[in-house]
Structure formats: structure tokens, C-alpha cells
């Protein structure tokens, strides 16, 4: 049973933690750590708008399709649409800078914090 569990772990382990960026000409590519890409994207999104307090990016690759799910936490009374648009533009721009192509899909979720929860998110 321990051996079986080990084999299962080998199958499931860290493959999901990397993103394969194949070259357009089919002569190789880059296998990049997902966490590093996500951190860079999140840093950029965090600077996209003054009301953004924290940002988290979840990058997914299926075949050649790259998707990003962005969650931003903003100051109270921030305009979610403005912040969402800024985050969308920022994550697309940074992804293009890092991977050489635009993201195929970006989902942005904006969470406007209440004053009571603000203290936990302030830098």
C-alpha cells in the first residue's frame, strides 16, 4: 500500500506547478515555474491601481492555452469596474512581457474590503 501511495504521489506531484511555453516554430520551449510567473503577475497587478491592496493570480495552462484568474482586494469604496479593468490590462501586459503572447482568458474578481477588514490587508 505504501508503494502504491508512492506511485500515486509520483503521478500527481509537481507537474501542475510548471507551465510549458512552447515556441511558435515548434523548436522547443521553456518550462517555467508557475509560482514565479504568478508572483511577477501579482506584483504587477498590485501596482495597477492605487486602490489595490493585495492581488493574487492563478495561472493555468492547458496545451497552448494560457488562462489567468486574478483576485484583487481593494480599499473600501473603490470602484470595482475601474480596478478590474486596470487589473485586467496589467495582467495581460505583464503576461505578454513574460511569455511573449497575450493570455487567452483573464477572469478578474474584485473584492472591495469593508473598513472592519481593512486592517488585515494593509501592507
Amino acid at each position: 500500500m505504501a508503494l502504491l501511495a508512492l506511485l500515486l504521489w509520483l503521478v500527481l506531484r509537481h507537474d501542475a506547478e510548471v507551465v510549458w511555453l512552447s515556441s511558435a516554430t515548434g523548436d522547443g520551449g521553456v518550462l517555467a515555474p508557475r509560482a514565479d510567473l504568478e508572483r511577477s503577475l501579482a506584483t504587477t497587478v498590485g501596482r495597477a491601481h492605487p486602490d489595490v491592496l493585495r492581488a493574487q493570480v492563478d495561472l493555468r495552462a492547458r496545451g497552448a492555452v494560457l488562462r489567468a484568474r486574478v483576485t484583487v482586494w481593494t480599499r473600501p469604496l473603490a470602484d470595482p469596474e475601474t480596478v478590474g479593468a486596470a487589473a485586467d490590462a496589467a495582467v495581460r501586459h505583464e503576461a505578454e512581457r513574460l511569455t511573449g503572447r497575450d493570455l487567452d482568458h483573464v477572469g478578474v474578481r474584485v473584492r472591495v474590503l469593508t473598513v472592519g477588514r481593512l486592517v488585515r490587508y494593509l501592507p
Binding site: 500500500m1 502504491l4 501511495a5 506511485l7 500515486l8 509520483l10 503521478v11 500527481l12 507537474d15 511555453l21 515556441s23 511558435a24 516554430t25 523548436d27 522547443g28 520551449g29 521553456v30 518550462l31 517555467a32 515555474p33 514565479d36 510567473l37 511577477s40 512581457r97 513574460l98 511569455t99 511573449g100 503572447r101
Partner: protein, 185 residues
């Protein structure tokens, strides 16, 4: 491993784990209390009580498959040391290529072409289409696809001139991607 192969492997593994777990619980329960009666399933009794030629063939096949899969798993975990010298045919006869020497050349060229990068491992392979390079490195933040193309072109030109080989594929395995200032710390 493809997604389908992974799903099949996980399902098979979980089902086998469930069966093995049930068997373990059964043995433990019977050992703990001699009064416990826990008969095995009818289909299993039929299969093992009077084994036919088909049963034997199936068992042998399953055992062979298990050995094959175990060997493949072992090779995946411990791929073994790569060849130090690659021999290949050239018009005049046979040429020998020292992989460590090639690795050093690739490392120098790679780090010159992509400032801030630090190469940790280089692998070389040859198939019918040509030579392939696999470079493992810590990379600076940059356009990764563009960098791969620049590196491929640079290494291709360099190795064609130096070693007379044609690089057709470059796979870069980024161990980390850090801003240059962070890497320097």
C-alpha cells in the same frame, strides 16, 4: 505523461489502494477476533479456487504489466547518468562528441546570451531530425519565448561553427525566474 494516462493511472491506483485497504482491514479484523467470519467475494473464490488456463494467463499478464510499470516508474525517478560521449556518423567516418565539454560551451554561451541567467545543467540528445539541447537554469525576468528563440539561434550558430553539429531544438527548464536585483542578493 498525457492527461488521459494520468487519469487512468490515478483511478487504477486509487481502486487498487481501496482493494488493498479492504484486504488489510479484513485480515486485521479476523486476526483480532477469531469469531469474525468475513468471506471473500464469490467471484474471487471462483477465480482462485479452481484456476483455469485463462486465469493463469491473466495472472501472468498482470504480473508482467506490474513489473513493466514498476520498471518505468523506477526509470522516471532515477533516469541514470547520461552518456559522456556521443558518437555519430559523419561523411568521413565517425565523430565523437564530449558531452561535458559541450555542456561547458553551452553554459558559457547561454549565460552570455542571457545576462543574469545561471545554468545548472545541460543535456544533449540526438535523433533523426538533429541535435536537441536541454538546459536547466535560473533565469532573469524576461520574455521567455523570445529568450528561447534568441538562445536557440545563438547556440545553433555557435555549435555549428565549433562542433559542426546542427541544433534543431532547445528546451529550457527554468528552475526559477527572478528579477535581476533579487538574483544578486
Amino acid at each position: 505523461m498525457s492527461v488521459l494516462a494520468r487519469i487512468v493511472a490515478v483511478v487504477v491506483g486509487l481502486v487498487t489502494l481501496a482493494f488493498a485497504g479492504a484486504g488489510l482491514v479484513r485480515q486485521a479484523a479476523m486476526a483480532a477476533d477469531a469469531g469474525v467470519s468475513w468471506p471473500v467475494a464469490g467471484w474471487w473464490s471462483e477465480l482462485t479456487a479452481a484456476p483455469s488456463a485463462a486465469t493463469t494467463a491473466a495472472a501472468v499478464g498482470a504480473a508482467a504489466l506490474a513489473v513493466l510499470l514498476a520498471a518505468l516508474a523506477y526509470r522516471q525517478v532515477f533516469p541514470g547518468a547520461p552518456a559522456q560521449v556521443v558518437e555519430y556518423a559523419v561523411p568521413g567516418g565517425t565523430a565523437r562528441l564530449s558531452v561535458p565539454a559541450l555542456g561547458k560551451a553551452v553554459r558559457r554561451r547561454f549565460e552570455a546570451l542571457l545576462p543574469g541567467a545561471s545554468v545548472t545543467d545541460v543535456g544533449v540528445a540526438r535523433d533523426g531530425q538533429g541535435w536537441s539541447l536541454r538546459v536547466e537554469a535560473d533565469l532573469p525576468v524576461c520574455d521567455l519565448r523570445q529568450a528561447q528563440q534568441t538562445l536557440l539561434q545563438g547556440l545553433r550558430d555557435d555549435l555549428r561553427r565549433v562542433a559542426g553539429i546542427e541544433i534543431v531544438r532547445l528546451d529550457v527548464v527554468a528552475r526559477s525566474i527572478r528579477p535581476a536585483a533579487e538574483k544578486a542578493r
